[in-house]
Structures are given as C-alpha cells and as structure tokens.
Amino acid sequence: MTSTSITRRHLLAATAASALGLGLMRPVRAAGGTTPIKIALVTSLSGPFAALGESMRAGLELLIAESGRQMGGRPVTLLVEDDQGKPDEAVRKVRKLLSQDKVDVLCGVISAAVALAIRDIVADAKALTFISIAAANGLAREAASPYIFRPTKTSWMLGHTGALWTYDKIAKEGGITLGSDYAAGREYVGDFINTYRQQGGKVGQQLWTPLGTADFAPIVMNLAAAAPSFVYAFFPGADAVRFLQQMRDFKLQDKIRVIGPGALFDQEDVLPAAGDAGLGGVNTYHQSPGAPASAAFAAAYLKARNRIPGEASTSAYATGQVIRAGIEAVAGDIAQKDKLKERLLSAPVSTALGPMRFDARNNQAILDIYVNEVRRGADGKPFNTVVHTYPAIQDPGPKA
C-alpha cells in the first residue's frame, strides 16, 4: 500500500535534486578543504521503531542536503548507527562512535530507555548530544546534563496540555484513561491525570494493558459498557493502529471521543495504516504537518518521500536545524562547545517545529504545543489539523 513504486517522475526529481546538491557542494569543498564535521545519528533501523528510524534518517538527510552538505563552512559527514531500540545495543554503539569514530555531535534516539541508558556515557564524555524524540521527563529534570540538548517535547508537555484542552473543551468528569503499561504510557497518562485534577476535573477508571496487545476487543467492550465521556489513551505504533481500528470495528469511533498524545495519531506512523479509523481523534503534539512553521519542510518531504511528515521526520529535521545554528555560531569550530551552547540558549532557533528556545536550567526546548484534530485533508485522507495552539510550553524542570 505504502510501498512507493519508483516512477519516472521520481527518478527525474531525484536526479535533479542530486545535481542541485552537487552544484551547491562543489564550491564549498574547493574553498574549504577542511576536515569534515562528523554527525552521528543513533536511531532504530530494526526492531519496534524501525519505521520511525527510517523517517528520522530521511528527515535529517533532507536537512543536510538542503544545507549543501556543509555547516558553518565545513563539510558534514553523517554516520547512522542502528540501536535496534535496545539500550544495551545503543550503549555499545555510542561508545564506538565516541571512541573509534570520534564523532563531534550525537543526535537521534527514539526510545526513552535508550536515551536514559546513554545519558551517563555522553555526559561523562562531555559529548554534544541532541535527543530528537525520546520524551522521558527525567531527562529534563534529575537526569539533565550540560551538554545534552532536547530539541523535542517532554511527556509532561503533552499530557499537561492534553488535560487543559480536555477540561476546557470536552468534559470535566466521566473520562477513562487507557495506557500502554510501560514507562512512556505511565508518564503521559500520569501527567494528564495530574493536570486534569488540578483543573478540578474528576478522572474515572484507569486501565492499563501490556505493551504489544494483539486483541483490544475485550477492553473496547469494557469501554462500550462504561460509556465514558472521553478516553485519554496512549499506545505506540502498531498497538495504536489496532486500538483505533478495533474501536471503529465495534462502532465506538463516533460515540467515544479519543484524546491522546500525538503519537497515537502520528501523521506518518499511524494514520496511513489506521485510515479512517483515526478520524475524529484529538491529540496534543509539538508537531503538526498543518502548522505554518512546518509548511516548507512538509512540502519538501512530500516531494522527497511521497508522504506527509510525522513526528520522527520533522523532529530529525528540526534537530538538524538546531545543530546547524549552533555550528554556524562558532563558524564550524565545534570544539568551542560553550560558545555553541550559549548561542542555543540565548536566542530562539527557527525550526520546522516552530521557533525553539531552550531552557537554560536543563537545555530543554520550550515549544508551542498544537492541539490537532484528525479531519479529512485536501485529498480526503485523515490529516492532523491544528485547532488550537498552546504557546511556549515549558517543562517544570529540575526541582530548585
């Protein structure tokens, strides 16, 4: 279905693009002749997050190509390592990248477990690291580190805004939460419940199901029986697709409002497979393909990969923009880590996720959070449409 067949038009476009890239690259090489800056992307090209990993690589490669394969006057080499979504493997790969490949900048990381596992290694090595997707709250709090930047959301930022929106616009009581029973699910749902209660709302039942649930029907029936005013849910990847489809199969799609963090309705990862089963869902996300900030990127990505970008590709692209801004501020002299850091902390970087400021306490991005509703887009397919924006949401950060 989504396997893109290569048409002549694609080939032409690709040839044109690479010709353009080469054209931009040549003068730089001739003028520079300096050693390249090595950027390492640690991502999952196998394992449960493989699809996200491929999008991530495509997003970052698009940015590097658009930058003419150079940043701050120096050529850029990209090394991609597969972490398989396993922390043990990621740790090995990161050590190798630092010790043998001697990379200048690390970025990527999808799984929160991986981000936490490599945290001590990169912190000890004082390696410049940019976490692009992993949302674990801890990395903005007790596990924050001076050289680790987070150009992405924290779980709190999405759970919190989800609760604000639900309380204001959907219902003040009678909702159910339903989460995948692992770290990310616990964080999203926990933060949702906290804020919702602070607002004065009352949460009903809290349901948890193991990661990798094949059949949601028994739980969906429980939802039908409880007839809640809304469901706040979180599942990653294939679980999300199955949940949404089985909600539709049991004819609950139009009866029960489903709200969740953006990953539940991710434009690239979930919606193409879930199809119309995603319609009507509401999610809070730092990414929206319909937001003005990502319009240029979304168009370029659509052209390059024939698909609308979701979080993984957009985040990787934005990470690249942040890295580029930092490198340009030190004119390619990556050894000046503190000057680079100062640049990122002092002024916002304009990215595909919107203008990005960093919190000086924990290097955590302060981001606009969009409320997306899944509606039919211009082509009739489900599309995350921005219905509201919570500006400049800042994680509470480390305890003072």
């Binding site: 740790v91 801890g138 692992y182």
Partner: protein
C-alpha cells in the same frame, strides 16, 4: 528417529577430533583475548569485557545443552536476574566486587533452580517452550516492577564497581575482572563436566529411562547441573551491569536467550571454549556489520544458516576436523 523427541546432536564427535578442536579453540580464545589489551582503547576493552561475560553465560548454557541436552530458552533470565540483583544491591550497599559476586551467584542459582524444578519432567520441545514461558515471566517481572527494576527504562546511576577503596570502573579494570570471572567460570564448569556427575548428566541426556532404571536420580542430576550453570552465569551477570553502568529488561528477554543459544551453536555445542568464540563472532558481526549496511540482519541470518548447514557442530569442532585432516595429509 522420531519416536522420542530428543533435541541433542546424537552423533558425538570422535574424541580425537573433539579434543584437538577444543585445544585449537582454546588457543584462539587466548589469542583473541589479548587483542583488546594490546589495542587498549576504551571501546575495545569494554567490548571485550562484554564478550567475556556473555561468553561465560554461553559456556554455562553449553553445559546444559551439550552436557545435558537441555536447550533452555530461559538462560538470559538467569543471567539478567543476577545483573538486576547486583545493580539493585549496589544502589543501597555500594558496589563491592565480592558482595556483587555473591549476590549474583545466589540470584543466578535461585532462578536457575526454579527453572530446573519447574521443568523437571519436561524434555525436548516441551522443555524449550516451558523454559521460554518461565523466562518470559521473569521478563514481565523486570518490566513491570517499576519501583525496583526501573521498568522499561531499566536501571542506571548506581555506584561503580570497586574492591575496597580500589575503583574498578576503568575499561582495563573491568576487562581484567571479566577475564578473571571467565577463567574461574571455565575451570569450575570443566571440573563439573569431568566429574562423575558430569558423566551422569551425559547419560541422562542420551538415555534418561535407562539411567533411571540404573538407579540414578535423574531429576537430582538435572537440578544440580542447573544450579551450577546458574552460579556461573550469575557470577558473569553480576558484573555485566557495571560494564556500561546500565541494566534493562532486554537482558532478561527471550530474544537474548535465543541469542545465547545461537552463540553456543556458532561456537560449538559441547565445547566450553566455543561459547567464547560464538559470543565473539555474534557480537562482533552485529556491532560492526550494522555500521555498513541496513541489511545486517540478513547478513547475520545468512551466516547463521550457513553455520548450521556447513558446520553443524560449530567452529570449535570444525577447527578440530580441519586439524585432523591436516595432520593426516
């Protein structure tokens, strides 16, 4: 052939080949073990330490597979549970090497004895699946008991390994500790295999009913083997978290158990050195090949299938056969 569901390789290699292969493998292992010491960069030493520790776990599994015909898909649970216990204990009492080892050995023996007792009456494919199920229950525990195990995120930030006031957190120190554990673990396993009980274990593997008729307590022999394998794997598992200052649920997952079996087979079922060779080949290929191609799983799969088809008795025995032929010509 098919009436009883025995899962071992029945055709035991000829003793001469077997011993020669083992000798060549031993030499190879020693030689390879020196490489990180010479090259000396942090990554190689740590990677070497990981290979030695995982190799020790593979060796102990090999005692069960090669010695007893017990193909356990729950051995990672033994190895990983020891790692978790050590990491948790380190959090509250500090990471003194002897304490960690004792805790790891006990945890390993505990889980191994549970698996051994539960599977007492199973054999063949039933044994395989039952160990898988029990191992996955351990994984569920590690994954779900967030307060203690850190859940999906695993544990990090525990103290670094030490002996008295001597810190053992440098790559070299970790490598040496791992090498010492590998050496002692190997010696213990070897003496078990050569002792009467080791011989009895082989008897239980090949002819369980006849052994029972001869008056051997089959169950007791099996559980003893499990206890020993658990102790050795537990000692290695106890140090494993300190190599990278991290332990997570992947280390108890069945896929890790499957990887351990693959390593054992690549190295050579029944060869104690083979475990190290297998761990080296597997981890090296996985770490290096994936840097060059997205299709690394294809490469690993092809290597593995080729091993099964061309060298069904593993590298160690294959080396032995080469050696014998070379000697004759």
């Amino acid at each position: 052939m098919s009436a009883h569901l025995n899962t071992t390789t029945h055709q035991a290699p000829a003793p001469a080949k077997y011993r020669l292969g083992d000798k060549i493998a031993a030499g190879l292992v020693l030689l390879l073990a020196l490489i990180p010491l010479v090259s000396g960069d942090g990554f190689s030493l740590r990677f070497g330490a990981e290979i030695l520790l995982i190799g020790t776990a593979v060796m102990s599994l090999n005692l069960l597979i090669g010695g007893g015909g017990l193909v356990s898909l729950g051995h990672a649970a033994v190895f990983g549970a020891a790692g978790y216990s050590a990491a948790v204990a380190a959090g509250s009492w500090g990471a003194q090497l002897p304490v960690m080892l004792v805790i790891g050995i006990f945890a390993g023996m505990l889980i191994a004895s549970i698996i051994g007792l539960v599977t007492l009456r199973s054999a063949g494919l039933f044994f395989l699946v039952l160990t898988l199920v029990v191992g996955q229950m351990v994984w569920e525990l590690a994954f779900r008991w967030r307060d203690v195990t850190g859940g999906a995120d695993g544990l990090r930030g525990f103290p670094k390994l030490a002996l008295g006031s001597l810190r053992l957190d440098t790559p070299l120190a970790l490598y040496l500790v791992a090498a010492a554990i590998a050496l002692v673990g190997w010696a213990v396993t070897r003496s078990f295999q050569r002792a009467p009980i080791g011989q009895a274990l082989a008897g239980v593997r090949d002819q369980p009913i006849r052994m029972g008729a001869l008056g051997y307590q089959v169950g007791r022999i099996r559980v003893t083997a499990f206890l020993l394998a658990g102790a050795v794997a537990g000692a290695a598992g106890a140090i494993y978290p300190f190599v990278n200052q991290y332990i997570g649920p992947n280390s108890v997952h069945w896929s890790m158990s499957a990887a351990l079996i693959i390593m054992a087979v690549i190295g050579g079922v029944g060869s104690l050195y083979g475990g190290y060779l297998g761990a080296l080949v597997y981890l090296f290929v996985q770490t290096e090949v994936s840097s060059y191609t997205d299709r690394w799983q294809l490469v690993i799969g092809l290597i593995f299938v080729a091993t099964v088809i061309l060298m069904p008795n593993g590298i160690a025995h294959w080396l032995g056969q080469r050696g014998v032929r070379g000697g004759r010509s």
